[in-house]
């Protein structure tokens, strides 16, 4: 990253932290404030009312949202919504939706399963839905669980395998007959997930959107974006937990001295810093590769996702431990980050799944 860009990101990060920072999980800024800040339109082309920025800027927002454990539908609408639309062939419908996301008029979700299915699947190779020809026209069937921000979305994009075998995107409203969205309450209540089920929904030809380029590669790329979004979230919340723990260890006294002066505590904090430093370096490299459109970025993505999300659970867990009895209370809020870190670790491919993808290159 050039120094100019990192300066720019520094300012952008400060603004993001300011907006999200003091909010906490219960007082996250509303979607209006988020859209007002221009974040959903970051990757929307300028001609369509967006900023024409890249995933590198989106990553800054994601990290800060993880740090604040913010409750926003940003992943569904922007990371996956805008990300998916940018992979589709341009047209009035696609362009209109991009414009609507940038302006805050639309808040879609993409029915990509956060649960990638069988063990060993880091990024799903095939869409969770299928289109079949029937006398009634094209019929959609399938099921995706742990879909980010599905419940409150005003429009659904469903990745599906077309009758010809290639992935396409079905653009449907949430009230299309035969499509059901069920909210999935989770231990991490800072985020909203839902199950999307299609049981023979009839889909008009006009609502099919085709990927530009290789559709299978485009669909996998969407999975990489989702994994990367989660890795950024995990990095941000690890940093928050490290900061909180260092601050606490500096003021909490036992045996007549700050607990941070004890080696057992100090060394644990040092280990947290090493893990966060390593995670940040891997996330930066993967974000850069993904933003640059590097076709081999998946290796860096899998490294970042597996390491950062595993580290986040360790760091948040150590934070709870070092906060002592206070850390175990509901009031302290450490549990909020720990649960979010645990969910991040499981979403869009577990660490083992992603390492397995990396290891395929050794055969």
């Amino acid at each position: 990253m050039s120094p100019d860009l990192s300066d720019l990101h520094g300012e952008f990060r400060a603004v993001a932290r300011d907006l999200l920072g003091g909010a906490g999980p219960d007082r996250a800024p509303g979607w209006k404030a988020i859209t007002g800040s221009g974040w959903p339109g970051l990757e929307v082309p300028e001609a369509l009312g967006g900023s024409g920025a890249t995933f590198a800027e989106v990553a800054v927002v994601l990290e800060e949202m993880g740090r604040a454990a913010a409750s926003t539908p940003y992943v569904g609408a922007a990371v996956l919504g805008v990300g998916a639309l940018n992979l589709l062939e341009p047209g009035p419908d696609r362009d209109g939706l991009l414009r609507a996301i940038a302006s805050g008029a639309a808040r879609p979700a993409v029915a990509l399963a956060g649960d990638t299915g069988d063990p060993g699947t880091a990024v799903a190779a095939e869409p969770p839905f299928r289109l079949e020809r029937s006398p009634r026209g094209l019929v959609l069937r399938g099921d995706a669980a742990f879909v980010p921000d599905a419940a409150g979305a005003d429009r659904l994009l469903l990745p599906a395998l077309a009758p010809g075998g290639e992935p396409v995107m079905v653009d449907a409203g949430p009230d299309l007959a035969g499509i059901r969205v069920t909210a999935q309450p989770l231990l991490d209540d800072t985020r909203a997930f839902g199950r999307v089920t299609a049981e023979g929904a009839v889909v008009a030809e006009g609502s099919l959107r085709r990927f530009t380029g290789d559709p299978a590669a485009a669909f996998r790329h969407l999975g990489d974006r989702a994994a990367m979004a989660v890795a950024c979230d995990g990095l941000g919340l690890s940093e928050a937990m490290l900061d909180a723990t260092v601050a606490y260890a500096g003021v909490r006294e036992q045996f007549g001295r700050p607990i941070g002066s004890f080696q057992a505590v100090k060394h644990a904090c040092a280990d947290m810093l090493v893990r966060v430093t390593v995670a940040r370096r891997l996330v930066e490299a993967a974000v850069r590769a993904l933003a640059a459109g590097d076709p081999d970025c998946w290796v860096a993505v899998s490294m970042a996702k597996s390491y950062a999300c595993e580290a986040a659970v360790d760091v948040a867990g150590k934070a709870m431990q070092l906060h002592g009895g206070m850390g175990y209370t509901w009031e302290s809020g450490v549990h909020v980050h720990l649960k979010r870190a645990m969910l991040d670790r499981s979403l869009f491919g577990s660490p083992a799944d992603h390492r397995r993808r990396v290891a395929h290159r050794y055969r």
């Binding site: 500096g250 100090k266 904090c269 040092a270 597996s306 390491y307 397995r356 990396v358 050794y362």
Partner: protein, 404 residues
């Protein structure tokens, strides 16, 4: 090498140049040839390799131009990447001379000291470091070797330990107490010690690996002329603090590149070797998982080392950056070599010697694993690094200490 370099094109050209040089000049089969050779052959090989690098301008790229270096940092990074990728022998014997001794002379030495030693180092002068003592390891400032003023110099008495390569050293960087009454960090001076001075007895220590690179140095009424004092009298602790970490960036980068290149390659090869029944470890899901974890950490390590070098060059290093890298490298090396030994099985224990001049990842995994404690203990143990990271990096309160 003239003109302004630094564009991507120039750097690509430089990389090609270094690659060509590596293919032509790295002795084929040096690993096998250097396994189990007597000490003299190791020394001769090291000296020859140093001169080979010197002829190419690769021996002291990090020195200032007027002393024979002046390679831009971006090129040094490429140089070490390529030397590692081509599995070049490591500069073991010249290490202290070209890094610690040079850094000390350049930062705190007199013109005369520089003129006397920097060209000599290029000609093959070997240096050792006489810092640690039996009673002063992690607590280095507790050292008790004394240097008493006498006539126009000092008389030194005491014992140094863990002096790597001292058996072959011409000179030694020496810390000794010049004011026993002062607080312990304020009574130490920094000297250049000629190892041919009467009264010096060097005894190699046999290490856990069976090798004897480290030495004890006994000093019995050894006379050091005043011209060999570095910096002011009683200011040696500060000089040592300033120069110790000076070269950590580039040396760590070289080691990280070695571990990430040849080291990981050999680990993959070890894991791809079929067992007696034909099964390959790499086909086992648990083994593949561990390998991917190592590759991930190596990728981060190499990037962190590049950051460290670039920040050092820009004059903006974080207070604990070097400690983070040293700690992470040391423990990653230990876990990786330990895993190699686990996978290689009993066969790893039948490799009784590893090639001299190799790095800490020679592929003789059982010995490499034992040798990895050479990283978690010296140069500030992992425990000391964690304390530095906690206090300087995170600003945590210091531990109450006795006897300053």
């Amino acid at each position: 090498m003239t003109g302004v370099r630094g564009t991507a094109h120039d750097l690509a050209e430089f990389r090609a140049e270094v690659r060509g040089w590596c293919r032509e000049h790295i002795p084929a089969d040096w690993r096998r040839a250097q396994t189990g050779v007597p000490e003299e052959e190791f020394v001769a090989f090291q000296k020859e390799w140093f001169q080979e690098l010197r002829r190419a301008g690769f021996a002291v790229p990090h020195w200032p131009r007027e002393w024979g270096g002046g390679m831009p940092v971006a090129e040094q990074i490429i140089l070490y990447q390529e030397l590692a990728a081509h599995d070049a022998p490591r500069l073991v014997l010249a290490f202290v001379a070209i890094h610690h001794a040079a850094a000390t002379l350049l930062a705190a030495g007199t013109d005369e000291q520089r003129r006397r030693h920097l060209p000599a180092i290029l000609d093959g002068e070997i240096w050792a470091q006489g810092f640690s003592e039996p009673g002063a390891g992690s607590d280095l400032a507790a050292l008790s070797t004394t240097a008493r003023r006498q006539d126009d110099g000092y008389v030194v008495n005491g014992q140094k330990v863990w002096a790597s390569g001292a058996a072959h050293a011409d000179w030694c960087l020496l810390l000794a107490r010049t004011d026993p009454g002062a607080p312990k960090r304020r009574g130490i001076s920094y000297f250049l010690l000629d190892m041919s001075t009467p009264g010096i007895d060097v005894r190699p220590i046999r290490q856990a690996t069976g090798e004897s690179h480290f030495c004890e140095i006994f000093l019995d009424d050894v006379v050091i002329p005043r011209t060999c004092l570095v910096g002011r009298e009683n200011d040696g602790w500060r000089v040592a603090q300033e120069t110790l970490g000076a070269e950590r960036g580039m040396t760590m980068l070289e080691l990280a590149e070695r571990l990430g290149n040849a080291g990981f390659r050999w680990l993959l090869e070890t894991c791809a070797r079929p067992g007696p029944g034909g099964a390959r470890p790499v086909d086992d899901a648990l083994v593949a998982d561990r390998l991917a974890g190592f590759e991930t950490e190596l990728t981060a390590l190499r990037a962190l080392c590049r950051d460290l070098v670039e920040r050092h060059d820009a004059g903006t290093p974080g207070p604990a950056d070097a400690s983070v890298v040293k700690l992470f490298y040391s423990e990653l090396l230990q876990r990786m070599t330990g895993f190699g030994a686990e996978i290689a099985g009993p066969a790893a224990h039948a490799e009784l010697r590893k090639p001299l001049s190799s790095g800490w990842e020679s592929g003789a995994w059982a010995l490499d694993f034992i040798g990895s404690w050479e990283w978690t203990i010296p140069g500030g143990t992992s425990e000391i690094q964690r304390t530095i990271i906690g206090e300087r990096g995170l600003g945590l309160p210091r531990e109450p200490r006795g006897g300053r």
